[in-house]
């Protein structure tokens, strides 16, 4: 995934000073959770619009999606290049954006703009194990947790609603305030549901008698 182009304009109602925010996401067993989406949605303030050229890529390569979890601001264009040498049939049945790219040949690169915030689960109808999640958030201030479970965001001081989401669980949103020039640390504990992804088959076995 290419880095998201953050808008440079900040909302007028948020303080001009920046604040550093970090959130550590762990499971109920205390283990760090990677790929969790942490977002700060301004409360009572106008959200700056997404940059006109904001673009993110989710490629199909090696019969997998290039990223399991991708997060974008609403209004971002997402490109789905097929870098495999086989066809794919990319689709989503999710409410925020239902779409389908059938007969999707190698070398093709269709793009879709995701306007409505929410979770969009994307799959391939030929290769059932191919699945990824696109989290469309109504804010430019978001991050994905790393392997240590840490997500870092730099945002203007002000009041926010902290939202934490992961494909296997989410935490109820809560409000917090970022002070000008101060570093704020939060933690989120997720109760992870079992991973029910379709497993990629390794090989077949001939049958017969």
């Amino acid at each position: 995934m290419k880095p998201v182009l953050f808008p440079l304009l900040l909302a007028a109602t948020l303080s001009a000073g920046a604040a550093d925010f970090s959130c550590t996401v762990t499971s109920s067993k205390g283990e760090p959770v990677a790929d969790a989406v942490v977002s700060l949605v301004p409360v009572g303030a106008t959200v700056p619009p997404v940059a006109a050229d904001a673009q993110v890529e989710i490629a199909q390569q090696g019969q997998e999606f290039s990223s399991y979890v991708t997060v974008v601001q609403a209004g971002t264009k997402v490109v789905f290049p097929n870098r495999d040498n086989v066809q794919h049939h990319v689709y989503s049945l999710s409410k925020p954006k239902k779409f389908e790219l059938p007969l999707y040949n190698p070398g093709q690169a269709e793009s879709i703009v995701f306007e409505v915030p929410g979770l969009v689960t994307v799959g391939c109808n030929i290769h059932d194990w191919m699945i990824c999640h696109l989290v469309v958030v109504p804010t430019p201030w978001f991050a994905k947790s790393d392997s240590a479970g840490t997500a870092k965001i730099s945002a203007p001081a002000g009041r926010y609603r902290l939202e934490v989401w992961h494909p296997r669980g989410a935490q109820a949103a809560r409000e917090l305030t970022l002070a000008d020039g101060a570093a704020t640390q939060e933690s989120a504990v997720l109760t992870l549901k079992p991973d029910r992804r379709v497993k990629r088959p390794v090989g077949g076995r001939s049958s017969g008698y």
Binding site: N85, H89, V198
Partner: protein
């Protein structure tokens, strides 16, 4: 006595069918980008099996157990023809070696096409698949060499993302040089697979097969059967079926063809060692009973490794 060969498919028919299969596989090999080799997805499988009554013999004292080694290499190419229609072409070559009974060894090579219709989107959509295949069996014993044609119809559905059920109806015909090895079989199978975790899977199948099978007997037993020593029913039936001395399972052993009903089941536990490699432990059983009530139970344990390149 040995009946003359009665191939089920004449040579022109076999060539036509193989040509059709190759022609159908061609579009799948001509993707917009990349050549045929680039688009070929290869899987190799190696399996060692310990088979009880590998000789498929009714007389308990004469049954021959064997260890078998099988290597298979297969290539697959999918091609989406329409929104919900997928053509899957595949080719496979396999070699089976039966330890201590080399006349039972064989190499098999063939091609298969499957047309798959998915009723909707997503992994839990129901899938209907019709398939046809053609393979040549180059058996060590010349009489068993010949062409095998297969057709199948499969209805499959994932009831959960990690639980898949399938019902399969299939038909197989093998036209061998010797009519003893000609087969005409049809079967109905039910399969279930459960991905227990990221690495462990459990699969099971139950099959009812009806049709011809090849069984084997030591000469003293066979001589008694066709001589009336086991009664007129056995004598009448066995003398009406093709048989020949093949020596496959021992000196003077006989192979003979009978009509039978077969109940097969198998359970397999597999462990995915990496993204490309899986190990499998399988227990299989076949309960064969021919049309005059003679039984040929067979069962096996096998361990295998699958590798996707």
């Amino acid at each position: 006595m040995a009946h003359p060969p009665t191939p089920a498919l004449n040579p022109a028919g076999r060539l036509w069918l193989l040509g059709t299969l190759l022609a159908l596989t061609a579009p799948a090999q001509q993707e917009n980008a990349g050549g045929w080799l680039e688009n070929l997805h290869l899987t190799a499988t190696g399996t060692v099996s310990w088979v009880n009554n590998a000789s498929r013999t009714s007389a308990v004292a004469n049954r021959k157990d064997a260890t078998t080694y099988e290597l298979a290499l297969s290539g697959t190419q999918p091609k989406q023809l329409a929104r919900n229609l997928l053509l899957i072409s595949s080719e496979e070559i396999s070699a089976l070696r039966v330890q201590d009974f080399s006349s039972a060894d064989h190499v098999r090579a063939g091609a298969r096409v499957a047309l798959q219709h998915k009723f909707g989107l997503g992994p839990q959509a129901t899938v209907l698949q019709a398939s046809g295949g053609m393979a040549y069996k180059a058996a060590d014993f010349a009489g068993d060499r010949g062409w095998t044609a297969e057709m199948g119809l499969q209805l499959a559905k994932r009831v959960l993302p990690n639980v898949r059920l399938a019902a399969i109806a299939s038909w197989l015909e093998h036209g061998a040089r010797s009519s003893v090895f000609d087969l005409d079989q049809h079967s109905l199978s039910f399969e279930a697979s459960w991905d227990i975790s990221d690495r462990w899977s459990l699969a099971g199948s139950a099959t009812r097969l009806e049709g011809d099978i090849v069984a084997n007997a030591a000469w003293p037993v066979w001589a008694q059967a066709i001589g009336g020593g086991f009664g007129p029913t056995v004598q009448t039936y066995y003398t009406s079926r093709p048989w020949v001395k093949t020596h496959i399972w021992g000196p003077d052993w006989v192979s003979y063809n009978v009509e039978a009903d077969v109940d097969l089941w198998s359970v397999a536990l597999s462990f995915q060692a990496s993204d490309h490699t899986a190990l499998e432990l399988r227990k299989g059983s076949a309960y064969v009973i021919n049309h005059i009530g003679i039984r040929y139970p067979t069962d096996s344990w096998s361990v295998g490794v699958n590798h996707r390149f």
